[in-house]
Symmetry: C2
Subunit: 381 residues, 2 copies
């Protein structure tokens, strides 16, 4: 049975963040908790957004979101939510604050522990009384602002997904001007996250033509604009296009992701080094594209056409060359991943919710080979 379920209310335009006070009023949120991280505070974005609210000084803020959200941080933010008698959340940032806010929306309204609600099978346990979230993305790539899921690392080290339509932000205020000036490395990593969402969703064998159409369009958009956004951090059109590609990935990935994400999730659960999710995706993508090549029908033909590549172009090599042009690392080894992480990563990937929707079935040996290929990237010229 093909389930197609479209998503939330998005306001998308330069300046959209100005809609925040009216949006909170429309949703009946009177005492929001602003969830963000140190980078957003440092960039002055939190202060700008806070100043939009009726009583800026009285607003509750949790700014300690770690680079990859953890159960401990969810608990700390939930305590803050309760202490201030909050009635909703505003998540400001990349995927980490938005995912963390989803964890708070859940734990502030449901009996613990968090692990009880992990995985696709636990979806029915998450009710409509989850706290409402308004998402204000400040990067372009995660798609979490229009997604039903959150990835959170539990105390036991597993990085698990929490999914429910009730965790979907009630509104996403997508303001590409908030991404102006974003550093090159973060623009490249988050942009490759968007591109990877679109490519893996497009290749997923599940049947969902609307999601597939959105994904192909988003992939073409990210491919066309990512280098410009990286090279010209203040190019407003490039920022608009990349934020659009990011939400297109997020609207589409209900169709299922694949081996890149299956491996990226346990890699993101490593405590040392703490890896940037989108950058890990970029490094994994060439190996996975080579692995899947014979299992995708005509879809590489269509991707090559959408990317303006020659009909005989090697798609995996084109992605590797793009990574290089964007200044991204060439391999997991170059990112500091220890070789002995292989077993933990492969174990996590085998159990990951993205594994069943890779176009080519994945065995333990396949995943180990993909890890090693991305670890070494022997194809680098």
């Amino acid at each position: 049975m093909t389930t197609i379920h479209y998503l939330t209310h998005i306001e998308f335009e330069a300046g959209a963040v100005a809609l925040l006070p009216g949006t909170l009023a429309a949703l009946g949120i009177h005492r929001p908790l602003l969830v963000t991280d140190a980078g957003i505070v440092h960039a002055g974005i939190l202060a700008r957004i806070r100043a939009l609210l009726p009583s800026p000084d009285g607003v509750a803020v949790f700014a300690e979101t770690p680079p990859n959200p953890t159960e401990e941080a969810v608990e700390a933010a939930t305590a803050c939510y309760r202490a201030h008698c909050c009635d909703g959340l505003v998540a400001i940032g990349g995927g980490s604050p938005i995912d963390l806010a989803k964890g708070v929306a859940l734990m502030a309204t449901h009996e613990g522990p968090l692990a009880h609600y992990a995985g696709m099978a636990a979806m029915p346990l998450i009710g409509a009384h989850a706290a409402p979230i308004v998402a204000v993305p400040t990067t372009a790539g995660t798609g979490s602002e229009v997604g039903r899921g959150a990835l959170i690392r539990l105390r036991d080290g597993r990085k698990l997904v929490f999914v429910s339509p009730h965790l979907l932000p009630r509104r996403a205020l997508c303001d590409p001007d908030l991404t102006l000036g974003m550093p090159a490395a973060l623009t490249a990593g988050t942009g490759m996250d968007a591109l990877t969402h679109c490519i893996e969703t497009f290749l997923s064998p599940r049947i969902n033509p609307p999601a597939e159409a959105i994904a192909l369009d988003g992939a073409a958009r990210a491919w066309r604009w990512i280098a410009r956004a990286v090279a010209h951090p203040d190019d407003r059109q490039a920022r608009w296009e990349m934020m659009m590609a990011g939400i297109q990935g997020g609207l589409a990935f209900q169709k299922g992701l694949g081996a890149v994400h299956a491996l990226a999730h346990p890699l993101g659960a490593l405590t040392a080094p703490s890896l940037h999710h989108g950058t890990v995706n970029a490094v994994l993508l060439p190996a996975v594209l080579r692995f899947n090549a014979a299992h995708v029908g005509d879809k590489y033909v269509r991707l090559r056409a959408a990317f303006g590549l020659g009909v005989d172009a090697d798609l995996a090599e084109a992605v590797r060359a793009l990574n290089q042009r964007l200044g991204l690392p060439a391999s997991l080894r170059a990112m500091g991943v220890p070789a002995d992480a292989l077993e933990q990563v492969v174990g996590g990937a085998l159990a990951d919710h993205s594994t069943p929707t890779n176009p080519r079935p994945l065995t333990r040996e396949d995943l180990a080979a993909l890890f090693m290929e991305a670890f070494n990237e022997p194809y680098r010229s």
Copy 2:
């Protein structure tokens, strides 16, 4: 401000209608009113669906939906809903029963008169307490099963739109097998409705890339499969593809339609002749494509590519030839529209909600010229 708001929960597969009892239970609908029309009763589809329910004989049915839903029919069905103490609706049929059910969902729960809720501006008046609807489409084209709007002809003769997220069916059970054996004329007319939704949405100047991507994919799908569905009424793949194109149009038309629909709505409000909406769209489409040609950027290039037409192909002529191949009428005159309907139709079109999203601005003179061109279709070879 670009508002992108995706839609409802769709189950799409041959046999999906079998999910109806579980769907009603999940939505807490214990006493549904089945809304349908004489054609569905005659085809035996109502009996098949009724037999799926726990107590088939006790189920309330309103089967008197007219070809174009009217205020009078909404009132009659609402009386039936109240008399049977119903708590939800199952709309079975093409766009007419689904739109009628939306009228009942509104009038059974809101203070009248119906006209009070007409138009985009009245959207905030329609609340979440509107009765829940499950839509079971039996044609492929309307998109009403995944849309927020209903078109209903009021007592005063105006055909107006009623729009609210709360009128959106809570579930659409899309079972392409229900369309097997649909007569050629209805397959062609409803299929051209799907194609027109996708083309007009794709051409709309509003910014909504996800909707635009869905529309282009849906247009290509309808273009490829419509003739096969018409020629081979029992071809299951053709029926699957056309039903998918229908929901793709419905998912996309939040981006706005254009002059075809602006004219088709008042034409559908004529009491004599009573016109089939999709067939009217098909007849209007060539003239509107010619009219818009210089105002669409590269979009005709992309449509020609998606349709597999030559780079120099005349898109309007290709649609006219397709209509001819499908056995559709060549002109409004051939459909029995009187020439003196022009003034009423042009007046209605000027005020129509689709007029502002035509890619080329529309004056009264433009609309009159389009009417006359479709009335005569002088380009027919």
